[in-house]
Subunit: 426 residues, 2 copies
């Protein structure tokens, strides 16, 4: 089976309330919802009732894979659950194995996103194994998206694809914050699966991994959970340091065009680059820190998320403002000062991260952190920001980058075609 | 702080559709929803549209902790996400430490279940640390429940509580399927937290662990995900072997009274016993097995879940029925034959399990399984069933019990009191 099924899925139903008012809704996967201008400052401590909280997750939402302006799972409003997994091509595999895998993964992804099994669960023959493992039978798609990435290693000498290497797909350089483990870094291929239903999410990853068993070996995985906020209101999510994270994330269509999607990039036009970092957080140490110090480290208030120079979350930070002591109100080494586009020549990246937990570590402490995923049309933009953050960020006392990966995300496939098909065009 | 806050939470709002028609709705936490008689046979492979699928998760649902007929998180319709964690009392702690911990945990659980932080996120004093870690600010309870259990070790000589030991709380005996690791077994205290929002779920566990840091050490944890099916329709969930699991689970009020809740049990009256098993599944090996063999192992069809002697999921299995070859249609060593109450002197237990994944194992295989949790008024009922299953179950080729724990679940607290308070009564 080396060609994708030509089964265009039903048009996705995107409930109106999922569309983000402040952005121009793309024809693609709905509009970005992180850090939108109408996000509310919900606070449980204040006891205020927040209309955006009083919502429900619609499990019937489906997103289409084929014939979209953008690949799925990037501008898509963040679902509550995510699994990121990378794979290496097995020894001895050749270009047609990769080609077949991408074709099969594409067809299966379209089926999964349409809430369909990828083949028979209960075959008619007594001698047959199931094509689909079955645990998602009867479940809705719950906004499932599959995003497939190509690692730099695919363009080495193994597959004769060196001439097709995306122009900016070279491994990330060493960065000041790196504390990387080989066991949680790299990979020839990446799969990002997101859904509002964890069982649907795991079923998708499992079945994609299973159908690829003849071609790839698993490398590493992180299971992320919903830092998206209650309901589909999608107020700014919070990370496990308890702070809003994403207030100044990309939300305008113009920024997507300028900073996320590739233009004039040959076969990669319409695609992007995916940076993944597994960032361990020493949450027990963090929790012992004074909140006033935490706020200095972030440059924002903890409850409402306002910049220390402002009153409301979406007030623009005033990095030049000084206090009575003549010192900057927002420390130049604070997280928001270092990451701000004003202080980085305008550079922006789209962050689409999830929290994760690995349970309890060897010291008996809670083992948790951030599955950082960013999308940008130039990996150097991430490198620029991370060089600054890794060198100067006050947060570095509490976090550690333990995993890393860079992948090229091809443009969305046309019906009857498959993701990355352009690699194999003569 | 040794007494719980006297803050009775608002009465929980239980949407009508969460109530299970076939059972008598208890005053407590809604009625059981697993394996109900109106559960539908949703099948994605059939392409049928299933009305129960077209549903949404209402994130505003809250359950009360105080003044209930039953402890929370047992009969409660299974939420999509669960974290189970156990703790050991630290060396040198005394009875009043345990007493204070149970009081604080009770008060905090009530706050969390009412979608409130357990204290200030952003204290007024610059010198203060936060009482609540903040990442659930603005989020709904999403049906959060906290269930606290007492391990056998609490009743050894350390705390002078030997006289209060629940009558049947002795460590589980060795069982034929055991492959237990000390690192995933036992514990002085257990915490089961369930919610439809993973961030709310993790926030609750984290804050309960954090406030207990002066008293306990973490021991082991498993993060489970929603084997409950789409929406609140709550058709029978599926495990990661792809089969429906829970078709014959307890659902009648009479069965709860007979098999789950303790009667005439002194201070434990109205409580129950919690058995927890971490069951590793070799899902990659399972996936390579013929479906016809899988069905023989379970004794049921894979898609619809019908017993091999019937046509529909809820048909009663006919264990005596023979095929043309004179052999039983449902093998006596099949999972449903060994576990059936008809073959176990009528014994039933309430199963409330979740799937889990630990990512990728040392061999590069998907590492996943079942967080098995059962509630019964006599742990010997679990032992009886597991002795049979562990010795004869055809499933044993594919599963391994790697973790185990037994805990007593005290009755629900009255307002102004706390869970396990009866332990300290003179």
């Amino acid at each position: 089976m080396s060609a994708p099924q030509d089964s265009a899925p039903e048009a996705g139903s995107v409930p109106r309330r999922r569309l983000f008012q402040g952005a121009v809704g793309g024809a693609a996967a709905g509009a970005l919802a992180v850090g939108g201008a109408w996000a509310v400052e919900g606070s449980r401590s204040s006891g205020m009732s927040d209309p955006a909280d009083k919502d429900a997750i619609d499990l019937t939402t489906q997103y289409p894979l084929y014939d979209q302006a953008e690949p799925a799972g990037i501008r898509t409003p963040p679902q509550r659950y995510a699994i990121f997994m990378t794979f290496d091509m097995s020894a001895g595999t050749v270009a047609t194995d990769l080609q077949s895998l991408l074709a099969r993964w594409t067809a299966a992804s379209a089926q999964l996103m349409a809430a369909q099994p990828i083949g028979q669960v209960q075959p008619t023959s007594d001698m047959a194994v199931g094509r689909d493992t079955g645990e998602a039978l009867g479940l809705d798609a719950a906004s499932l998206t599959v995003t497939i990435g190509l690692g730099p290693g695919l363009f080495d000498t193994r597959f004769g694809l060196a001439g097709k290497r995306p122009a900016l797909l070279t491994p990330l350089p060493a960065l000041p914050s790196d504390n990387l483990s080989a066991g949680t870094s790299g990979g020839d291929l990446s799969v990002q699966v997101c859904s509002d239903d964890p069982q649907v999410c795991y079923h998708a990853v499992r079945n994609l991994a299973r159908m690829a068993r003849d071609t790839v070996q698993t490398r590493w995985t992180v299971m992320g959970f919903g830092r998206a906020s209650a309901g589909q209101g999608q107020q700014t999510p919070r990370n496990l340091l308890g702070f809003k994270d994403g207030t100044r994330n990309i939300s305008e269509a113009a920024d997507f065009a300028t900073y996320v999607w590739l233009r004039d990039a040959g076969w990669m036009t319409g695609g992007t680059y995916q940076v993944v970092r597994k960032i361990e957080m020493n949450i027990e140490t963090w929790d012992a820190d004074r909140v006033s110090d935490q706020e200095k480290i972030f440059g924002r208030g903890k409850s409402a998320g306002e910049p220390l120079t402002g009153n409301k979350e979406f007030d623009t930070p005033q990095f030049a403002a000084q206090g009575k002591d003549g010192k900057p109100v927002i420390a130049p080494t604070s997280h928001i000062a270092l990451a701000a586009h004003e202080n980085n020549g305008g550079v922006k990246i789209l962050r689409r991260s999830y929290n994760y937990t690995d349970g309890i570590n060897e010291f008996g402490q809670l083992d948790a952190g951030l599955l950082f995923i960013s999308y940008q049309n130039n990996p150097a933009h991430f490198v620029q920001l991370q060089r600054k953050l890794g060198a100067g960020d006050l947060l570095n006392e509490y976090i550690k980058h333990v995993g890393s990966g860079l992948f090229a995300i091809p443009p969305a496939p046309k019906a009857g075609h498959y993701i990355g098909e352009q690699l194999f065009a003569r």
